[in-house]
Symmetry: C2
């Protein structure tokens, strides 16, 4: 249960005045909308590696987080790893849940709806015959991903479902996963 | 610089005997390849939310990690957040780097190539006019993602580039991002 304190201009922990001011500022200077996010990954051993996420470009400037964040990824023991962190696919499921949730909370705030609880479970079914190279007919990625939200707030079920639908329509990660993304890979080897 | 100790059957920290035994076991019983990964997300406040990643189904059984892993996600201050964690898109870039890296290290081990260092930088360019709803012609997700690897090992540049190419061909996250994935969203509201 999340307790939300409503102060003037704030709903669901979102400063709606700042939210609308941000939209106005970007409308006036569309170059402010150009962002570049980054992750830097270092191999540790076997399937264990670690990414650092710090600086990004956005709102017309380079922004540092002073060291940022660090995340281990690994495979589990049944996949020749040691469970030093989640698998890459699990991080992707987390990214999807986080994107949809942040969006719907912002949209609820903009629509004057107070939320008290938002939880979600994301599942990804994957047949490893693909990545193991044992069946060319099986794709490498998930056959499907399912997101199940449980949401409580001061609006009816239909209106709350509308928040999720709007968030889906505006989600960066949902778009990246469903519509395909260009990925370029460069290798410097020695 | 990663120091790799080579023991019989182990290369790059990968137990190649186990790797090949896993392939044999899955070839013999293809149901072992059916996995389901999961993330459970809880909203905290505003754009801040946290995912827990623990149990998964795979290799014919439910497997728990005894509490698993927990990750905060947020938007930065310039996007009405508080930087309690990386953005969802940054987690996705991390997932991509981690997947390609784990794959290429396994493939190198299988091919008898010893690696000494693997680092990568992943960048995602995104124009927020899409998710802000300010331009219908701009997609919500990244216009493109670029991965730049730096790899050192006991093979020539061409052979090392071949490891990355093979990893790309077998990567779950690369497939999920480039080829599009079905996502179903269900909402339970009250």
């Amino acid at each position: 249960m999340t307790t939300t304190t409503t102060t003037p201009g704030t709903r669901n922990g979102v400063d709606t005045a700042t939210l609308f001011a941000t939209l106005d500022a970007v409308s006036a200077d569309r170059d402010l909308a150009k962002f570049q996010f980054r992750a830097r990954n270092t191999w540790v051993s076997g399937t264990h590696n670690v990414s650092t996420i710090d600086g990004y470009y956005g709102a017309g400037q380079e922004i540092s987080r002073n060291g940022g964040f660090s995340f281990d990824a690994d495979h589990p023991p049944v996949l020749t790893g040691s469970d030093h962190g989640p698998t890459p696919v699990e991080f992707l499921l987390h990214a999807l849940a986080a994107c949809l949730t942040a969006g719907l909370v912002n949209i609820a705030a903009a629509r004057g709806i107070t939320l008290t609880e938002v939880t979600s479970t994301v599942t990804g079914d994957i047949n490893l015959l693909g990545i193991l190279g044992l069946d060319r007919e099986v794709r490498n990625g998930c056959s499907g991903i399912k997101v199940t939200f449980s949401i409580h707030g001061d609006a009816g079920a239909e209106e709350i479902a509308g928040l999720v639908e709007r968030s889906r329509q505006r989600s960066a990660v949902y778009d990246l996963l469903t519509n395909g993304t260009d990925i370029e890979i460069q290798v410097n080897a020695s």
